[in-house]
Amino acid sequence: MAVPILKQGPFLIATIQAALTDTDVLKLQDDVMAQVTRHRSRGIIVDVTALDVMDSFVSRSLQGIARMTQLRGATTVIVGIQPEVAFAMVQLGMAFEDVLTALDLEEGLALLTRPRKETVDGGG
């Protein structure tokens, strides 16, 4: 099932609607990169609220999106990781250390519209 990607000003919003197969995840990666390039987007939000499982493949692919878009000068924020999913990710060993996250879409947008240096340099 394809993930719809909406353009909102300088940002892209990809909202995952249902469980993703590995093929869907790879397509999402490709689609985000294509759209970031086409629209010269500055920020990307990937909303994973609907995901009840984020295994190592999905986590690694989202991390990949964050890194690839960063090389294009854009910032990716993953929003809506469910509490149980967060628990499982940590047990699994997916720390997501270099990926920006926010509670929900609204917080994610706030993070993207904040001055740049505050958002990128977390933790160093």
């Binding site: 197969t21 590995d22 009840d52 295994d55 493949f57 047990q91 060993g93 997916m94």
Partner: protein, 142 residues
Amino acid sequence: MADEPASVIAIESDADVVTARQQARAMASQLDLSSTDQTLLATAISEVARNITAYAVRGEVLLSVIQDDGGRRGIQVIARDDGPGIENVELAMQDGYTSGTGLGLGLPGARRLVHQFEIQTAPGRGTTVTLVMWERESARAA
């Protein structure tokens, strides 16, 4: 200890991986496993079932409800294939080790997610991974 498996899911594509973990979650919710344990189990199944599609091409996932001597119930997951098997299991169970393109979190990660984890494999003789997630003690009182 297990009866007939309640469900057998053939694993041949990435869509089957999703089916397997969704069926397991449905079974787990009938058993009153907490929503966290359901998620942990579903995630572990995703990891071991993906190993089937990645390394063995095809295999199957068997789901059963089992009981221990004290009457506690749990979900048993058997993921098995007739693929190439694993030469060095100790190595494969180490975080970060991978013979493929993954992160090497699959097997060691899955082991951390469930209550019981067992792997039987030998080169050329396939791989069988057995996972168990037990219901909480408090769930039995109900």
